[in-house]
Symmetry: C2
Subunit: 97 residues, 2 copies
Amino acid sequence: MQTFGKTIKTEREKKGLFLRQVASALDVDQALISKFEKGDRKPSKEQVIKFANFFKLDKDKLITAWLSDKIIYTLQGEKNAENALKVAEQRIKYGTE
Amino acid sequence: MQTFGKTIKTEREKKGLFLRQVASALDVDQALISKFEKGDRKPSKEQVIKFANFFKLDKDKLITAWLSDKIIYTLQGEKNAENALKVAEQRIKYGTE
DNA sequence: GAAATATTTGTCTAATCTTGTCAAATTAAA
DNA sequence: TTTAATTTGACAAGATTAGACAAATATTTC
């Protein structure tokens, strides 16, 4: 169950690349990529797609990881988090009623 | 499976109150409450709690509805929405690994 | 159906949050 | 200990959102 950050960090290391290199390939500041990897900045969807292309990762999987990061972010510190997820799931599946 | 807006609207009508009255009781602009009810403005958590108290609703339930609104908002238009929810659920239950 | 009342909508400003960038600090490697 | 890599902090700019108000629309009442 990967976060976006861990995924791209692992991938980068697999390929033996430095942040600097990814940064220049994607034209994104390397400090920013470092932050993506550590999860203290959230990339835009366009950036997620850039990463997926660059690392040849399944786009949907990477987007899913990124979305789940965002969900978890909005739920942080909420004790009703789990219930909210269940409710959201029902609402998405069957519509809000 | 209620949204925050529907919940407070229903509750208000149950009690036969006008927006104006709720607005003055909670000290919130009535146009804003109208927007909350229709779901085109998202209340703060403090406001959610105000509503729960005022209508004597279960705080956790109302917060859950409000959180699920926010989740659905972040997932809007995403085809990976359902998967992202499942992933988020796993991560919250068992931690991110 | 006219007047009064209730609700909704549109728009603007201010406040809040988020982004990307740069420089400095830290950590790791050679 | 020098060099290279990564992380951190802080800031300015940009984007997003909230709340306020007025105007428009809808609903109710007589």
